[in-house]
Symmetry: C2
Subunit: 273 residues, 2 copies
DNA sequence: CTGATATCCTTATGCTGTAAAGAGATAGCT
DNA sequence: AGCTATCTCTTTACAGCATAAGGATATCAG
């Protein structure tokens, strides 16, 4: 299930996201000094999510990591939903903030996409934060600004760029998602990827003996190796520890990106650039 | 949180998916006749998910819709995870199974993408079924076969097509996702999209008065034409009831698809087709 | 010192998936 | 016909979840 953004007090959420919260009068209030902070909680929550996946992210788990009960967190954060928002925005801060355009926009965009790929693999849970409504934290805008800086190199106008932005982001997200979730599932369930796959495909042969007749093109896709393009033949990737699936997904990513870049070039040509 | 596929007895799951389950000896066993069936349960579950979203899909809710308790379902389905797998595969059966290639592959692919878009909007919860490991039900292969039938029209070889498949599917999924989840969130929380958005963007102005200096390109993106951020739409969106966001996302979808199609054409040209 | 306010804990409520055990129906077998 | 194995479905129970409510305790301004 997707975690929806918190819908509590909008004002407080935004203040937390943009860090305009505390420092009105820092230490004049009575009561014990806070032993925790929003930052500590967000960090602990990210650590939990990184290590054990979003499905293991509970208020108890976060509290435990800080030596507190679950309820102690509610002093700092209105609800779990808001905490997830904060985690999301904090994680985005890791992304590079600018790309050198000297080698051309194609190279820059390729590096941007690669960094995104690596980022989502580092924090797979980010893909599970609902995109229904933007979190609207500062780092989301920073990320947007970074991408726009790269796209400016194409010389395309705002209306075109506006559409490209979504396409590019969703492309990266979409192509990493299977890889990220497969990793999560493998660690969460303890079943290695290869094993799971073997079991299933053995079952398919048994349960659908007429597979080749029912799905001829799927079989064709799997068997035919040589490309009329003359691009590199598919090797079994011998000295590669990662699951086969990941290597394959990465090729999909690279090839898909090429298609996108070519498409952008076509748009530029059409715009007379 | 993403719902992971059930990891119970692989054999039984596959049998359920491919419907090779029951009819060994249909009516020789003692005991009361089953009042339910896997199909009825899957239908009821889909109805719940369609109406109230994946987060409201509980075994109790499904059972209630059938006049049974939650536990009654476990006679037919091993776990909630398996049920979700079955829902997913059943839903996919709705998709068209072939596209006329007479008007060219571009037209066919455009129609394919449009049907996918509509499908995901009809069943937003499908986007929340984990893609970590393929469900491997029959209709997933049918869908693949359909797409491959369209892509065959390009004349490209298997290795290239193999990569295009993922790119296209993720593109469609990625671009509908915000729209689908926004609809879900709006109905689930009862907060209309416009209202939520207004509250947040008003807060941004207050919390980041220096927004224009910090994010000049975001502002540029928003001022030249309609904006996903802040200001009202400059572009006319007459007699359209849907939230502004949806219309905008649809444009992103169309424009992104054009970029993809242009990119595919470039790949064909490079292959000498 | 007093009263107000802060952090943090304990307890409790209503969800969730599902394990365990039992009630009642129905078939084949004797 | 009666017995018994087997099936469906219910009840009850349990652990885990987010979080509401209330209480204990520490710290400030006066």
């Amino acid at each position: 299930m997707v975690v929806f953004a918190g819908q509590g007090d909008v004002q407080r959420t935004m203040a937390l996201l943009w860090r305009t919260a505390g420092p009105g009068d820092p230490r004049t209030a009575p009561g014990p000094k806070p032993a925790l902070s929003v930052d500590m909680i967000v960090d602990a929550a990210i650590a939990v999510a990184d290590a054990e996946g979003m499905s293991s992210l509970s208020m108890r788990a976060v509290g435990e990591r800080l030596g507190r009960t679950a309820m102690a967190l509610y002093t700092y954060v209105p609800s779990k939903g808001e905490l997830v928002d904060l985690m999301y925005d904090r994680a985005l801060a890791e992304l590079p903030r600018g790309y050198d355009g000297e080698a051309g926009w194609r190279a820059a965009l390729t590096r941007w996409a690669g960094d995104g790929w690596a980022f989502y693999l580092r924090h797979p849970w980010v893909l599970q934060v609902s995109q229904a409504r933007p979190v609207l934290g500062p780092n989301e805008y920073v990320m947007m600004e970074t991408l726009l800086g790269v796209l400016r190199g194409t010389g395309l106008g705002a209306p075109v760029v506006r559409r490209l932005v979504g396409t590019l982001i969703y492309f990266v997200r979409g192509t990493v998602q299977p890889v990220a979730e497969a990793r999560q599932a493998a660690t969460a369930t303890g079943v290695p990827d290869q094993e799971w796959w073997d079991g299933r495909s053995a079952q398919i042969a048994q349960v659908a003996p007429d597979f080749a007749e029912r799905f001829p093109m799927v079989v064709w896709l799997g068997t035919e190796g040589a490309s009329p393009l003359g691009d590199e033949a598919d090797e079994p990737c011998p000295d590669d520890d990662r699951p086969y699936m990941e290597a394959e997904a990465e090729k999909t990513f690279q090839a898909g990106l090429t298609v996108l870049l070519d498409g952008i070039e076509a748009a530029m040509r059409r715009a007379g650039l």
